[in-house]
Symmetry: D2
Subunit: 351 residues, 4 copies
């Protein structure tokens, strides 16, 4: 801490999540970014890759091999990389928030099943808190190590949590039809991301066996034993955002009013969860486009009595509530800042 | 028939389905468009509303009250209008293809349930053949009156048919998550279709109780008794096209190879159904964007053994296989033309 | 002023500029919104029309006939409306910022020529300061009445100003090829804004005789006598933003270095003008998409020696620097707040 | 010729122009594709890269080193490649249509100036006919070697031709503000084409010194001596298509009626040029989106008397009239087919 500011390091600052962390931290009144690394772009202006930061910062990328000690490190690395270097980061900071997938699951065998290789630091899995403040706020407040959730997992868990916790829906089948934006695949160009191919696409790319199923099922074991969650992911024409349409089946008769009461009980005091179920206007259910840049998770629902189906609709910005914004929210909890600090942007309309 | 050409009338030619009919019929070698009506645009060039037809036709809109006899009438009217005027159209033509919803259901009570008013011509419901050639080809060939399917129903029925007919999936739950384009809502401007609001939207607009559920369930009663189908419809950023992701559950163990064999048996000779399940390239499952302007229905699938889930993926152009192109396919069957006549366009890539 | 906050009224709060004013003012630490009016939506939540403000404000629309006195009034009315009611607004507030076109031109005859009707309050034209802070900062600071510029005019004047003031380009021809977004046409739905028609459009809609030519020419008369400016406006696929490509011709030989020096001299201290001319990276010239929600005007250029052509490239968010943000910047100047207050948002990337 | 079909080879069939040639040739009644090459994808189905051709053809890519003799060769190679291998292609076919840039310019020094390297076959430059049928129809009919125009050049020349030929506009300045789609940059992925970066972009990428200026100026030398043409190219959100807004200045007073008469004289019989200047409807000037897949060049204009400015607006599909379709039109002329054969597609609306 210098001048009462928390000294923060961002490892992996050239990607989209890293850029979003910089955007948020540069406007955070309690934080100073001391280093941001990129092996590939050492000594170049961060605004070369994040042109929205032109004139806002003079930061340059530094070498990840030359990181100095700081108060908190954010890791925004590709999956599978943070576990290889974690011991180094732990020696360079009191606190670590890992935005990758390496420390999200508690069980090393389960991790290996979904990620296809052995975990390098299995003993550390239990030491990371799953960084979803709405559910694990107390644990995060006292945590030194936090693993940020996957973006589909974050929105899906927030959508399902009140219904599973309160025994409203059956534990199987729970189907998550996820509509995904192009930024979720990262900043590296590929054939699949080539504009003439990706533009206007409505492309089923992971209809079954999605890794985030594991995180979601893990989250609900304490509440209801095993749940069986199935994700189908479709890429749609959008740069930022996720919309999930979750199809579940009622375990008992329930009305809209009762559901509203439960949602109010669970989320009424949450600064970033809004219940969106309107009977007029255009935006009657959650929609990702007006959430771009914000840390909100919007949540709506509808009942289909004929088939006992409950449809839960959730939306977030995958780079904010699904990654960088949620991590800043964790930082706020871990460091004693008001939880909304640096996350005040309301979003734009129209957009 | 003049000069061996079938004389055809299009009622309701100013909308998007009407325009698509004109586009297809103008290039159909066996057809002559004798009249195209629009009450609002009488005497104006059809190319005023359908600018792709500039230089292609000199047709003008005529008054629907002054229609002369012809060999076949297409009705492209808003839902609820064709039943009010049907007796007139029946007197003006031997054959009628209605692209609206009025004669799709066989049961008047069911129609009233879903459309919220009493049917005007209940006795005629049984005289219309449901115009889906892949399933009712024989009936359409000898039909005088055909009701074209709803677009979500068309693609959903084609996706589910092989699996329900061959008892592969359970009859409940069957969840159809439909991603819809903006043209489906028609050519009339509204707040919801205002570009700054609709552009980039991923908008849940009919999460439950979708009318097309009735058509789909009706289609499968002969095969399996009652099935319970749930549609959730989401508007995505796309002008033409539908993608359905159908989530169903296996009634018995089955492998990919066996499914491929069944699909080949059911659809191997179909000119407009393609099985799309590739293990390389970008377009591994059906995608609506490369189907724009074509009469194809592309169909793919994936199995999730862990949850006994079968995901069926289907794509069409809602204005072609979901409306006008499918109607021209019916015309071909009803009139003895080769089934693909006028429907040869392959689609574009990239697009 | 209550509790040291400036009491502000927004007249015409249901449109896009009104909504953007609310978004900015709600986060402005020195301002309190006392009233926001909409004749059509009286008593409804402002978040019904501006869904990004859900959970951020409980404001409701009030009746424009029941406006109470406040410290400053913003008028966000359709062109031609504010002059009819201006005397009323002047009686209700010390200060007025009109975001419409009624008081932008100094000459009543010129106004009548471009807007096609007689001006109702010609004597008041000279009492309004043209609200472009980068050029009229001193006048705005002491102004009571400010007329906000048209969005194409704002960006075009900022692009041309250093070059005309320093006699670098000829006064004729100056061609402004403006690429416009859909929000510029306002929040009212129309055939032209219907998504299937407007989506993906690259539509020349005002190739000649654009009204904003008058504002631009008026701005430069003090510097160089008459300039002849021609705007051609094309609607492109974008919800927010303008890109202008300005083609002008050099009055004397000049190099890139010299131009950079002039731009630095004119704009080096401006908080919202950035010179963007990079030799690496993707964003080498100004681009509107990363400016969404920000008050920046980005400005770049390129020389074509062979034809003595200077190309100036400018980008803004039409709703922010082209309207609401620029008006808040004026408010800050008029009220003694630091000029950037409430306008700190950096913009998003990717987006 | 086998069975009266012209045997045609496509060299470089994996790119977007190659794919478009295949799409058109597969539906051309007088042509048989005997070979399509791709060094990278030898033995793979062409439909792997061109998914619109699934079920339409079983063609596989063959090795460019194993090409057999055929009646006509299309070259769809990157700029600078065809001149290196041209002698081989000339030995394998009576006729060659090169869609690249290597043989478009007549002057080897000029070619070197614009393309930055020495031309390998300078003596052959004069033997290639510039393949723009509307201007060089007679020459193309008897040509063995044709060089297809660049896409911006094709639409710009067609727009300017009637005005320069008839001495209506001054020879300088002529400013072409070109709005370009993403497919024009080819099928190879890059950072610049990465969807999160390219989507929604309105990006000035070549504001000065565009290579196509040379082709355009060359085209008009016979008519008016030197003209000075300046292109500024901006990438907009569109996969296919070009819109050019051409700003020129009148050499004499002229009215709209007189211009219409000249356009009718020059283009009244052209099958693929349409004059679009409407006083009602939405599509009053040319627009690329309804031209996707078609061989049309739409052309409109507007006069600004105050500044003696003429604005000419032109639109094409860059892959069709700007490349593959125009080449098929040349093939038709060279081979005695009716000029419109295989090019009958009208385009879609809405789209």
């Amino acid at each position: 801490m210098k001048n009462d500011k928390l000294e923060v390091t961002v490892i992996g600052g050239s990607g989209y999540v890293g850029g979003e962390l910089l955007r948020l931290l540069l406007r955070h009144p309690g934080v100073r970014i001391s280093q941001v690394t990129s092996r590939k772009f050492v000594n170049l202006d961060v605004s070369l890759l994040h042109p929205n930061l032109r004139g806002v910062t003079d930061l340059k990328f530094s070498n990840p091999d030359e990181v100095r000690h700081s108060d908190l490190i954010f890791l925004a690395l590709p999956n599978g990389e943070s576990m290889n270097s974690m011991e180094k980061w732990l020696s360079l900071s009191e606190k670590v928030i890992d935005l990758g997938a390496d420390f999200r699951l508690k069980d090393a065998a389960e991790w290996q099943h979904w990620y296809g290789k052995e975990h390098v630091l299995p003993d550390w899995l239990s030491r990371f808190v799953y960084g979803l403040p709405e559910i694990y706020r107390r644990e995060i407040k006292s945590a030194r190590y936090v693993a940020g959730p996957g973006c589909e997992a974050a929105v899906s868990i927030l959508c399902l949590y009140p219904f599973i916790k309160n025994n409203i829906i059956k534990s199987h089948p729970i189907i998550i039809d996820a509509k995904m934006s192009s930024s979720q695949a990262g900043s590296k160009a590929s054939w699949a991301s080539h504009h003439p191919e990706r533009a206007g696409a409505i492309r089923s790319y992971k209809p079954t066996n999605h890794r985030h199923q594991a995180e979601i099922e893990q989250a609900f074991r304490p509440f209801s034993g095993e749940v069986a969650v199935s994700i189908s992911a479709t890429a749609v024409e959008m740069v930022r955002g996720i919309l999930v349409t979750i199809h579940a089946f009622l375990d008992k008769e329930i009305g809209e009013k009762e559901i509203r009461a439960i949602l109010k009980k669970e989320y009424g005091n949450e600064p970033f969860v809004r219940i969106i179920k309107m009977n007029r206007g255009l935006y009657r259910y959650p929609e990702p486009k007006i959430l771009q840049g914000t840390n909100f998770c919007d949540l709506g629902f509808e009942l289909e009595n004929r088939t006992s189906r409950l449809v839960i609709i959730g939306a977030i910005d995958n780079l904010v509530k699904g990654a960088a914004g949620n991590a800043v929210q964790c930082l706020n909890l871990m460091s004693g800042f008001p939880e909304e600090t640096g996350l005040e942007f309301t979003g734009l309309h129209p957009v």
